[in-house]
Amino acid sequence: EDVTLTIESWRNDDLAIWQEKIIPAFEAANPGIKVVFAPSAPAEYNAVLNSKLDAGSAGDLVTCRPFDASLELFNKGKLADLSDMAAMANFSDVAKSAWQTDDATKTFCVPMASVIHGFIYNRAIFDELGLTPPKTEAEFFAALEKIKANGTYIPMAMGTNDQWEAATMGYQNIGPNYWKGEEGRKALIAGTSSLTDEAWVAPFRQLAKWKDYLGDGFEAQTYPDSQNLFTLGRAAIYPTGSWEIGVFGPQIGGAFEMGAFPPPVAADGDKCYISDHTDIAMGMNAATKHPEQTKKFLEWVGSSEFATLYANALPGFFSLNSAAVEMADPLAKEFVSWRETCEPTIRSTYQILSRGTPNLENETWNASANVIKGTETPEDAAKRLQDGLASWYEPQKK
């Protein structure tokens, strides 16, 4: 009798890829195991998954969000300890860090992919206006100014309605250059640096300047609006993450070509930092009835075969596997190439710092949006974040 494994996931987008490419590949190699990919809409995923795990009706395989969300599940005994899986050897410590206990002794999910932040631009517009990808902040704003002056295009597609754009594609995108990536992030966790330090306020200052280059009514502009503005060729620059590569291609449908540049640095020659965020992994429901088969599947997820399959099916989702993955998409290659020149870091709020109330990540969304809209000054925003953090995070309590 065949065993059927069910995958819980928030990646509705990937349904076709799993059904058509990934699962057939696995099933062909592993007769007797059937796999069902059962995604739910991303917004409901956490709530649905938790409820099902609590009640005992969740699937065998669980797609893991990075850091605390999954750690919580592991601590509650919902996710199995996978530290001794053979495939774990295929991943670096950094890759695994998002799905480990704080002391890094136990790993509970097999890393699948990371995403890199940066700016995508419309080559056609750049060519038309004679622009080149900016390297420094000054060039960046000059370019924006030029596009604005031209008046035909919205310089930059971003809205604050959904808030997370402002934080993820704004603050976390340009921030690492100021707080020096991992160094700043770790200092914050250690309590040696604070959010009111210049390194953490400066990105807000830059964000505050973005306002002038966003579209009319950006306050009510949603994330899909921004995507549409850009893919329909109405905006020149799009602050983003690499995950857009796969979805923009077909939407643009060849109307123009895209390019990408990493977050500009303060002065030419400064060391650059990029947000290379460990984003998605897969773990095992501790209560699964088929631990054997589930592990078998997870071993396969940790293999380089899967890495190649996945990264190419989903350009912009970069494998975390130590083995090099050959990618076909040029823009994806461009993004990955920044790993060579710039220092990667993960999003500053993800590890440990968003465990309490108020939730630093949520607050950062809110603060970033406020700062862009100009309803809060960078200093006030930073102070508010710091106060909130200090109210519950021991190392930051003064």
Binding site: N12, D13, E44, S51, D54, A55, Y223, W243
Partner: protein, 280 residues
């Protein structure tokens, strides 16, 4: 029944004016949805108000929808769940409402309050316990689980509304039934139920909409391919970073049709003068 003499043209003109005006407001967004579900993505956002033209006409949304999963099955599931839950809500709800409105007994008001508690707390909060219950009774991934939950969920509102309307049924009429030797059950089924038809229809419609549109419990209790509801099926097109608006519009647009049909069926019960001629 009414006369032309009572039909002032000015007043009816004003009435039509207001109703037509509001109808436009009500239908305009619906028009936007329907029109855009027939256009390609580019056209939706290029000019959301334009009618589909030869260039922009595109059935891609509908094609995607019909290609994805077994839509007929989803549809049948939704129908089964909605109709079955509706049946139980109306039956049980009307019975309880009758007990509350017709009889004076100790704890009547408290019982009314108890049955109304359900409209005050979102049932979502009980999700884990409900799911555990269903797991324990082996009802996960069955439509029965959904029907049970929706029945429970619909009851408070049904009782609340129906008991109010049942208080308006002439006491003489029920008394006449008692004199005729009708049991309390007969009085309920043969006399009271037919006379609160408009209220029953109203409750039916109010109950059916959230059931049909619910995403949460199908997702939690019955997400399997065989038991998926149509709303859950449409949800596939809402992704993390990209939403396939063509497909969402088409799927949800298609999903309106059955509820609309149910609504039309029920609203036929909204009849004037059911109780005319009963008493003087």
């Amino acid at each position: 029944m009414m006369s032309t003499a009572r039909h002032s043209p000015l007043r009816s003109l004003a009435a039509h004016g207001i109703l037509l005006g509001y109808t436009l407001i009500a239908l305009f967004p619906v028009f936007v949805i329907v029109v855009n579900s027939f256009k390609n993505r580019r056209a939706i956002f290029a000019d959301p108000l334009a009618l589909p033209s030869a260039e922009t006409f595109d059935l891609v949304g509908y094609k995607t929808v019909l290609a994805q999963g077994d839509f007929l099955q989803y549809f049948l599931n939704s129908m089964t769940v909605t109709v079955a839950s509706l049946f139980f809500v109306l039956l049980f709800g009307a019975m309880a409402a009758f007990a509350l409105s017709e009889y004076r007994f100790r704890g009547n008001l408290l019982m009314g309050l108890y049955l109304a508690l359900g409209i005050m707390i979102p049932i979502r909060l009980g999700t884990v316990a409900i799911l555990q219950l269903m797991v324990a009774s082996g009802l996960v991934n069955t439509l029965t689980a959904l029907i049970l939950v929706y029945t429970a969920q619909g009851l408070p509102l049904a009782v609340f509304i129906l008991s109010e309307f049942m208080r308006g049924v002439s006491a003489d009429l029920k008394d006449a039934g008692r004199i005729d030797g009708l049991s309390e059950y007969r009085i309920f089924f043969r006399l009271v139920l037919p006379l609160v038809r408009p209220a029953m229809a109203t409750v039916a419609v109010f109950t059916m909409i959230p059931i049909w549109n619910d995403l949460w419990f199908p997702l939690i209790l019955a997400p399997s391919e065989a038991t998926k509801t149509i709303t859950l099926g449409s949800q596939v097109f809402i992704g993390q970073f990209v939403t396939n608006w063509n497909a969402v519009l088409a799927a949800l647009g298609l999903a309106i049709v059955p509820v609309l049909v149910l609504y039309l069926i029920f609203s036929r019960q909204l009849i004037r003068g059911i109780t005319a001629g009963a008493v003087k």
